[in-house]
Point group: C2
Chain length 374, copies 2
Amino acid sequence: MDRLPTIEDVARAARVSRQTVSNVLNTPAIVKPETRKRVEVAIRKLAYRPHASARRLRMRKSSTIAIRLDPMTNGISGALLDRFLHALTEQADARGIRILLFTAADPAAEIEQIRKLRAGADVDAFVLTATFHGDPRTEWLVENDVPFVTFGRPWGANDMNNPKHLWVDVDGFAGMREAAIHLIDQGSSRVGFVGWPSLSGTGDDRRRGWQAAVEERLSTSDTDLAALNLSVEDRLEDARDAVVALLESDEKIDGLVCASDTLALGAMIAAASVGRSDLPIIGFDNSPVGQAIGLSSVDQTLDEVAGGALELLLGQTGGDLVHRDAAAGDTRHRLITPHLVIRQPLRLLASDAASTPTATKSAVGNHKNGKETQ
Amino acid sequence: MDRLPTIEDVARAARVSRQTVSNVLNTPAIVKPETRKRVEVAIRKLAYRPHASARRLRMRKSSTIAIRLDPMTNGISGALLDRFLHALTEQADARGIRILLFTAADPAAEIEQIRKLRAGADVDAFVLTATFHGDPRTEWLVENDVPFVTFGRPWGANDMNNPKHLWVDVDGFAGMREAAIHLIDQGSSRVGFVGWPSLSGTGDDRRRGWQAAVEERLSTSDTDLAALNLSVEDRLEDARDAVVALLESDEKIDGLVCASDTLALGAMIAAASVGRSDLPIIGFDNSPVGQAIGLSSVDQTLDEVAGGALELLLGQTGGDLVHRDAAAGDTRHRLITPHLVIRQPLRLLASDAASTPTATKSAVGNHKNGKETQ
DNA sequence: ACTCAAGATTTGAACGATCAAACTTTTGAA
DNA sequence: TTCAAAAGTTTGATCGTTCAAATCTTGAGT
């Protein structure tokens, strides 16, 4: 046979009609077991699979979800979207849903792409990432009744309550708080925070988590709290410089939590370079680099995020879009609690030994055994 | 209007027939300019786009290429596939081709997924990554006449000459050679190599590049060549330990090229920890982490790789599959020459100063200005 | 004016599936 | 045994597009 087998071929082989084959595939319960078996055999024999486009045309749904692939220049945590994508693809597959990629240079271009994909009936719904304050995309999507879910909560107050805006997000507050409390439980009594300038809602959320932990467990004064609170762009160098300055101005700091692994890595380098390799540091994102270097970090449990996103769009199971208006209040969003991953840090250098090659040798070699203490 | 506009709606609005609208879209040249304009106006006014599934059903092609998204545990260079995907999506879009994702735990599962996607006429062709010696996937694909292209050359000798196996790859030999020659030109006279155990074709290819450069430009003896040639797993710690040992046993080493950024980062840490922060090191992959830390690296120019892959599948332009048998000999694969990206390394620490906080302060602060010399 | 080809447009059929309704067979109670 | 209801199966129509062939229009040559 030259072409792929069609439902008609299967029907002929099983001596039944098209529709019966269709029923075996879609509503097996209504087919007599005997007949069903015969059809199933024919299907297997011909290695038949329904033609996806034909089915989509008839069903008026594409069973496809699109997501934009960022240019992804955000450094160390880059693989984040990567891991999310993987989880999303895997779970979508289980529901018979396909994931389609697209790119766009900016929000306006993204809206245009969405418009195109949508108008071509190519895609049923969209997953948006990296939402920001006053995001024009979500506004447009709601306006045009396009089904979507965002990874990242809406930071505008009015959007937050928009019942048409489904979202999943990671509870940065809880994650950062857990990280800080872990350090405090391990004996730290003066824990600093390295975060981003107060513009991104995400950054503020994580900052508040640290602050909550410190206020709850330690008696840090308000002025001290301000001094322990760093804000830098998400760059290794910026973080390093800021942390070096902090550590030099405040010798008593005995713990740091950071809003990203990039910042945490900068902090590790800073600590090492001022002879404080022992300073416990916790990052956020659980990036591959962090893993490689033994950085403790808050993991975003992207499996749960992906699962949550699909559930909001499609309900508990299956691949049919759920009507948003039908969703009850608390099923319109999901806040995932991340979890802390503790690692034995890889020593960047043997800071407490003399800096001659021979002296550092053994110290470096022992990294796997020695448990760091504060 | 409740449903999306169809070609019929446009036809009515422009007072022409279905087919004329179709012609305006697909073969505008045969439509009288006057009529064409009228139709174009109607299309714009209704924001019409052809229904993708209907078109695919009729045309018997899906205009979709699928690619597997790895679990991606390969650490630091993880974002590699990410960047490739981005380039691929962008260039495919320009050709009217969509990129579909799928996942699979192992080669057998991947074959099964491919079979399914293929039988459902969901996908026209596949892009495979991370090919390896004796890869069962390519064998199966050739066997079953499934159009595909691999990112990564076939390492088996017989596959190499299989005209049905299209591939694109990065010339690791040329890249590593260029890196080593750069170091030599900058004054290095004893350049080592950190690579992977001799199993992966990719690793050997890169190793040979280093070897060629050294043999060509330096008078390194064969025994020395062997001593300068490290083989470790692609892990930070392994690389670090091996390089520490190397640097301690051989004080004259004044340059290192590495088969990956992961290894290079390990080497940087090793160098810093034995007081040799000045040691020039070049990695491979130009990963985001490498960028963040100022690591010089060989960039894979994934734009070109993606472009090459699409060209092999689809020809110079357009979205139609090119018949493999029609391709001339040298258009069946493409070897992309990577290019070296030189960066000013971020100092991991002030190794040549005393290790007290106050002493290191200024040295660290100056990282942006000082040009490292060898 | 007449013919014929080239140019421009329209009509009917097909792509492969599902839905809705019609038809046939089985089942169970009177 | 009879008949209605339930269960099982088939037929015709449809989704929105493009292909192939048919029809209509225009224009040049005689």
